[in-house]
């Protein structure tokens, strides 16, 4: 068997063509890594607008003015005059509590001077 192996080894083999070497040179030189690299680059280019959109979502709401605290109710106490005042200050005897008159006005910030 050893002789046969030597016999096989002595046979001259077909060689790859120069065209293959040229193709391989082109392959190594042109950087077949470009597809992978471009995929990575594309990822970054896609990440940039995505980050921008995310930032917009975060930042844009903060541009609105903060919500105003609820305005405290304004209470106006009116002192009636005349007969009404008398009936309020000197209520009838059968009345347990004097009639109260409270006028509540809800005020909002006004742009009027």
């Amino acid at each position: 068997m050893k002789d046969l192996e030597d016999h096989l080894r002595a046979a001259r083999l077909t060689r790859p063509s120069p065209q293959l070497d040229h193709r391989m040179e082109m392959l190594f030189a042109s950087g077949a890594l470009e597809p992978a690299a471009s995929r990575r680059n594309r990822w970054w280019w896609l990440a940039l607008p995505a980050a921008g959109v995310a930032a917009a979502f975060v930042l844009l709401p903060s541009r609105h003015p903060p919500p105003l605290p609820p305005a405290p109710p304004l209470v106006y106490q009116l002192e009636p005059q005349g007969l009404l005042r008398e009936s309020l200050l000197a209520p009838p005897a059968e009345s347990q509590t004097p009639p109260a008159m409270i006028v509540t006005v809800q005020s909002f910030p006004s742009t009027m001077p």
Binding site: L4, H7, A11, R12, L13, L20, L33
Partner: protein, 162 residues
């Protein structure tokens, strides 16, 4: 890392181009298909952008897969791994006669694909039987059997039935 992979593969190709080509032709039996398989395998390896520690069996396996893919796609013409006629620059006194090469190739063609592939890997590409078993993902005794049977057939064909 990418440049390192490219350089590693480039050096590997330069140092192993003949072995890779012989192996690919032994599978495809067609020179153009073998060259396409080698090109395709390296293209895929470069795109992958990373290599395993054992580069040699890995690259050979990739070339094998590419060659088998090519076989599935194309009709096999049956080119030789052995030179039929010497190229002018390859003529040397020690070179075997073209007839011998052609005869050897014809006999190799009579072997099964597994036997031929094993003999090519062992004799021409200097793989050990264990490395071939790893490459083919088959048990070592199977590879040893392919090799022994292939050599016996070749011996019978060459000596007893010239």
């Amino acid at each position: 890392m990418s440049r390192a992979v490219t350089e590693t593969l480039r050096v590997f190709y330069v140092e192993n181009r003949q072995q890779l080509y012989t192996y690919a032709v032994s599978i495809t039996r067609q020179r153009e298909a073998a060259e396409d398989a080698i090109h395709q395998a390296f293209q895929q390896l470069l795109r992958r952008g990373e290599l395993v520690a054992e580069v040699r069996p890995y690259v050979f396996r990739c070339v094998r897969n590419a060659a088998l893919d090519g076989l599935r796609r194309a009709k096999v013409r049956g080119d030789s791994i052995l030179a039929g006629e010497p190229a002018p620059e390859q003529v040397a006194p020690a070179a075997p006669a073209p007839l011998l090469a052609r005869e050897l190739d014809e006999k190799l063609d009579l072997l099964s694909a597994d036997e031929r592939e094993t003999i090519v890997l062992k004799v021409y590409d200097e793989f050990t039987l264990q490395e071939i078993a790893d490459l083919r993902d088959v048990p070592l005794p199977t590879v040893a059997s392919w090799y022994r049977r292939g050599l016996e057939k070749l011996k019978y064909l060459l000596e007893d039935n010239p």
